[in-house]
């Protein structure tokens, strides 16, 4: 039952907790209450040690993990958000929307994506030096770095390949009127092809070309490699209080932009229409996507709340 708890928690409390569990189970009749209590609190402890709650970790380590938790939540948000956004930008390649709500939503989402990508770049670039320093100190950064680069490489090459097969890239006579360049729309569409309701309709899915189905399976694996590698790197590199403060400020800005993006996406879902040739139709996958984004944003908000206004000063103590 201790497996429910994170490694650090087990190292700190495992032995005494086992003693108590044994005593408790010997005194009480068998019931599901104790295993359920252990499971629930184990998950709560996992969240706490992931930086989303109170734990016995040092302030600097806790702040770093909270930032990582924010980054993971933001990554989920952006992945699902890009899936929705790409579907709409591809639609606009063929024909502009016929409702103000969808048009406004598209502009809001597109500018939000632009700002989020800029914030992401501003967050990642200053981490190059701490990563190099960690590598020089022979910390275990090579494996996570290789995993991140391999995943990113597969995503870029695969998305380029499948984007080129999409008529919206410029090969089609209608494909000249998009909100963003057709190549970019098709690239993001190909990268997020797995965000689809076709998983719930295997019959229709099997009618797709085999390489496309393989890509729909491979691309989330590649994305998971990027995320796991990035988390591994994040756990190995040391952030100075100043850099921690800088990253926290960017996270706060990112949280606000994510909220704006969600407002835009919700505007399309609530007030948009199917549009010409049903190109802007709101499907069940989009509703589910909004739900996932809400959960990711709430998680990110909780992380921001825990990071506080000045994590650098707290970590320096």
């Amino acid at each position: 039952m201790l497996r429910w708890y994170p490694r650090e928690w087990r190292a700190r409390y495992g032995e005494e907790f086992t003693e108590l569990l044994v005593s408790d189970m010997s005194e009480r009749s068998r019931s599901v209450r104790t295993p359920a209590d252990v499971a629930v609190n184990g998950i709560v402890a996992r969240l706490a040690y992931a930086g989303l709650g109170q734990s016995t970790l040092e302030d600097a380590e806790r702040s770093r993990r909270t930032l990582l938790a924010f980054a993971c939540a933001a990554a989920v948000f952006v992945t699902v958000g890009l899936g929705i956004w790409a579907q709409l930008t591809i639609g606009w390649q063929w024909s502009p929307p016929d409702t103000v709500a969808t048009s406004v939503a598209m502009f809001v989402m597109s500018y939000s994506v632009l700002v989020l990508l800029a914030l992401g770049a501003m967050a990642v670039v200053p981490l190059a030096w701490p990563t190099a320093r960690a590598a020089l100190r022979r910390r275990n950064v090579v494996g996570p770095l290789a995993l991140t680069l391999a995943g990113a490489g597969i995503l870029i090459v695969g998305s380029r390949h499948f984007a080129n097969g999409w008529p919206g890239t410029g090969g089609h006579q209608w494909a000249h009127q998009g909100l963003v360049p057709g190549g970019l729309a098709a690239f993001v569409w190909a990268a997020t092809l797995f965000v689809t309701a076709y998983w719930a309709h295997p019959g229709a899915l099997l009618a797709f070309p085999a390489p496309e189905i393989a890509w729909m399976v491979l691309s989330p694996v590649a994305l998971a490699c990027v995320a796991l590698g990035a988390v591994g790197l994040g756990r190995q590199i040391e952030l100075s209080p100043r850099l921690l403060h800088y990253e926290a400020r960017l996270a706060q800005l990112g949280g606000m932009v994510m909220f704006v993006f969600l407002v835009g996406a919700s505007l399309w879902v609530v007030d948009g229409g199917p549009g010409p040739r049903n190109l802007f139709h709101v499907g069940a996958i989009d509703i589910a996507g909004i739900g996932v984004m809400v959960v990711a944003l709430v998680t990110a908000g909780r992380a921001l709340q825990l990071i506080g206004p000045n994590p650098g000063a707290r970590a320096a103590r």
């Binding site: 928690w9 700190r12 409390y13 032995e15 005494e16 907790f17 003693e19 108590l20 569990l21 005593s23 408790d24 209450r33 104790t34 209590d37 252990v38 499971a39 629930v40 609190n41 184990g42 709560v44 402890a45 706490a48 709650g53 109170q54 734990s55 016995t56 970790l57």
Partner: protein, 118 residues
Amino acid sequence: MARTSRQNTTQTEFSGFGRYAGPATLILSSLADGPKHGYALTKDIEAFSGTRLAPGTLYEALSRLEGQGLIEAVESDDRRRPYQLTVLGATALRSHLAAQRRIADLGLRRLAGTWGAA
């Protein structure tokens, strides 16, 4: 002014527990008369409150209280590590229980005024 500030601090410490405020109060009250390990805490709390804290709930609260500096582990060779209140924990508990007593007194006075003394 200083009292208000301290009250705010301790209220924040307890409000951060959410559904763990109950276990936190029970644990801190149990430790008020000296250090205890997990099993002794369970038994003592059951004796004075009639509530038996399940192991997961107890250790979740212990971990939070330790993270907030309200309790600390006592060095021990025993596998069952005892915990004791810190100065901050004693202050937080005193303030929290005083606030609880004010609410209890008020409720009892109003009950007596409307429904008569028990």
